[in-house]
């Protein structure tokens, strides 16, 4: 019997292949060559890690016939990568992972692109931001820290962050609304890992690192989280340190700092691709999210696992763009003519 089964299976797959050969339009679309996965950021950063992780998951679980080829195009705060995808309209073999620079880069540098030049595919997750200070700092809550900033001299407190006029600095500016006119000195560094270490070395007073960048220093007792910039607390209840879990970190709103910010980790395609082609990738990423590897990855980084696709996603992106525009306008980060 088993033998017959395999024979039947072989026959069936042979038949399927024959059908596929003779009548391709009827079958669901699949990539016919290697898919290029563009990362609008440098090697080693958060977006890069996630993209390469996805590449690994897809390869490991054989979720796709064709290979994924990852390339970094980080020039001009990611503008290079976005322009590349914008200029490959109708190419269904190209996808791009985005971070907040999808909104911030065109607004702050004036580079001519917009998310509307791309086709939204799916939101993978939202990355969190946490207010960190050295563990032995005198303040134990975000409220106390902000009170100290209020009481101190203007620009006395230094906030370390990644890049300039991007998410970290936007959050910093949003925080400054709560400090009674006192400003932070924002010090831009190259990457999130460096920011965390600069904070451990006390070269800056605080940072708004992503959870994954700060977690090890939290565990080792060098840093402590004050509050998380999300509407509600994290859902991860497993203990990270001896006494605390991600879910024990209060939201900033809870402690009287109404600042919320999350960073999009999503996938886009070039303009002009067909709905079947988009569907293929939506399904692919749904499969990626279903793996245990992905779940572990999410928990390690305390990601907010909100996912979306289709119109809901497009609406979310539109709203996010508006939020960024308002925040950046208020901060004076807009390029001339924007």
């Amino acid at each position: 019997m088993p033998k017959l089964n395999t024979t039947l299976a072989t026959l069936a797959s042979g038949f399927a292949a024959a059908v596929a050969l003779t009548a391709p339009p009827a079958a669901a679309w699949e990539p016919t060559k290697a898919v290029t996965f563009v990362i609008p950021a440098g090697t080693g950063g958060g977006a890069d890690q996630m993209a390469r992780f996805i590449q690994g998951v897809v390869t490991k679980h054989k979720l796709m016939e064709q290979p994924i080829v990852v390339i970094n195009k980080s020039g001009g705060a990611g503008a290079e990568g976005f322009l590349e995808v914008k200029n490959s309209a109708n190419d269904p073999h190209k996808i791009i992972i985005t971070l907040s620079n999808l909104f911030t880069t065109p607004l702050s540098t004036g580079t001519p692109f917009n998310w509307k030049d791309l086709t939204p595919v799916a939101m993978l997750a939202l990355d969190q931001f946490i207010l960190w200070v050295p563990a032995d700092a005198a303040y134990s809550t975000a409220k106390e820290y902000i009170a100290a900033v209020k009481a101190g001299a203007d620009r006395e407190f230094k906030m370390g962050g990644t890049g300039s006029k991007q998410e970290d600095q936007i959050i910093t500016v949003a925080l400054e609304r709560q400090t009674g006119g006192k400003k932070f000195t924002y010090v831009p560094f190259q990457g999130g890992g460096t920011v965390a270490v600069q904070l451990v070395g006390k070269h800056v007073n605080s940072s708004v690192n992503n959870p994954i960048e700060g977690v090890q220093h939290w565990k080792s007792g060098a840093l402590k989280p004050l509050c998380i910039f999300d509407g509600k607390r994290s859902t991860y209840t497993k203990k990270v340190t001896a006494t605390q879990a991600w879910s024990d970190i209060p939201t900033c709103k809870e402690v009287g700092l109404p600042v919320e910010y999350q960073m999009l980790r999503g996938i886009f395609m070039p303009k002009g691709v067909s709905p079947e082609q988009v569907k293929f990738y939506v399904d692919l990423f749904a499969k990626v999210r279903a793996t245990d590897d992905w779940k572990t990855f999410m928990e390690n980084g305390a990601f907010n696992q909100t996912t979306m696709a289709g119109d809901a996603y497009a609406k979310w992106v539109e709203q996010a763009e508006k939020t960024h525009y308002d925040l950046m306008k208020e901060a004076g980060f807009l390029a001339a003519g924007k």
């Binding site: 890690q49 540098t109 230094k158 300039s164 560094f189 060098a222 390690n300």
Partner: protein
Amino acid sequence: MEEIASLMQGFAVALTPFNLLLMLVGILLGVIIGVLPGLGGANGVAILLPLTFSMPPTSAIIMLSCIYWGALFGGAITSILFNIPGEPWSVATTFDGHPMAQKGKADEALTAAFTSSFVGAIVAVIVITFLAPLVARFALKFGPPEFFAVQFLTFASFIGMGKGSPFKTLAAMCLGFALAAVGLDNVTGQLRMTFDQEMLLNGFKFLVAVIGLFGIGEILSSMESGLNFSGAHAKIRLDAVLQTWKQMPRLWFTFLRSCIIGCWMGITPGGATPASFMSYGLAKQFSKNGKNFGKGEIEGVVAPETAAHAAGTSALLPMLTLGIPGSPTAAVLLGGLLIWGLQPGPMLFVEQPDFVWGLIASMYLGNVVGLILILTCVPLFAAILRIPFSIIAPIILVICAVGAYTVNNSIFDVWMMVVFGVIGYVFVKLSYPLPPLVLALVLGDMAEGSFRQSMLISQGDLSVFFSNWLVGSIMTLGLILLFWPALRWLITLRRSKPQHA
């Protein structure tokens, strides 16, 4: 000696037949990656990372770090044979390595380079083994002013020795700085000198420039003197390795100095490329044969290679203990750790001792395996020079084009490579020195960034560069080095005076 027990346990983890096989494969792949310019260590590790996904983490990191060692070894090969730096940190190796090859001593240069790499790496691993926690605490002391001081020191050690016209040196260096400034300004997020041209967004990449300036420039020079650059004088001596090793012991001080520079720069983290330049610069200043540097002095190969490897290896330490990458390759490895579910950072040594000590043990083993493997290939590499120029020249050009393209996946970079080739050819003939130009190109961004970060922190107060003993002493050292030629001149003047009087 708790460390020794842990290390022995690490050896037990690393020394399985499967892991040894992975080491071998890793080293071989790494050498290939290192030889091809553009396909650097960071690239290579990033590309192969997904392949290791289904392996146990310890085996995976062993293979990936072996790729890294291999790439470190391999970078020197093309530098010496064809004046094309396969990796950024082997630029300084071309200064004396290639002249040695032209004199028919390619095998000696290669042996010296590989041996120095090995020494640098092993010293760095020993530092990692025994001083890891101490060193990690030291690295934390480095804020923006300290980083600027280290970058300043690198320049000072390299600039104070130019022999040609000081104005040409200055012009070449400033051109490097100006080119480095093109693209996004990381401190304010503004675009500089891109003039709305999409291809300029990425600026001028160091590797594209050096492939052009050195590699293509060299081909143009060879063409000028006719097609007679053949391998006629590339003798194949089977005892080259032993002959070269005989010369090594007298260079012990160069080795020592280069190891210290390398470990220091890797840990802080300043990077392997600045380390190699600084080490070369200091060796030239303080060597008895300093005048012969650039003409094929073996010391000029030993110094940068030792420092580059010591730095490249010790760069893994801040990655493991602090979660900050000391080099682009370390940054990719860092991503790898996360993918395998390991959190790099201060807790790694506590939470995953098997992994950490397995990795450290594999550093010892990987380098020994690598050295043996690559030394046996020295005659083979040297024999490449026997291939006639009419065959090798077009192949080199094609490989250079591939290298320039892969740096940023941009054809514009390939155009720039050829343009840099012309610049290199013209500059060499007019004795505009190239080293200050490339050093400015590689360090310009970083130095400017840390300077402005320091200024932000101090609100424009320059005294921040002398605000504590650490930054103050590095700056002072830099100033001394900068004016060393003048100082030496003064000293000799004072000494000679009484004799005449």
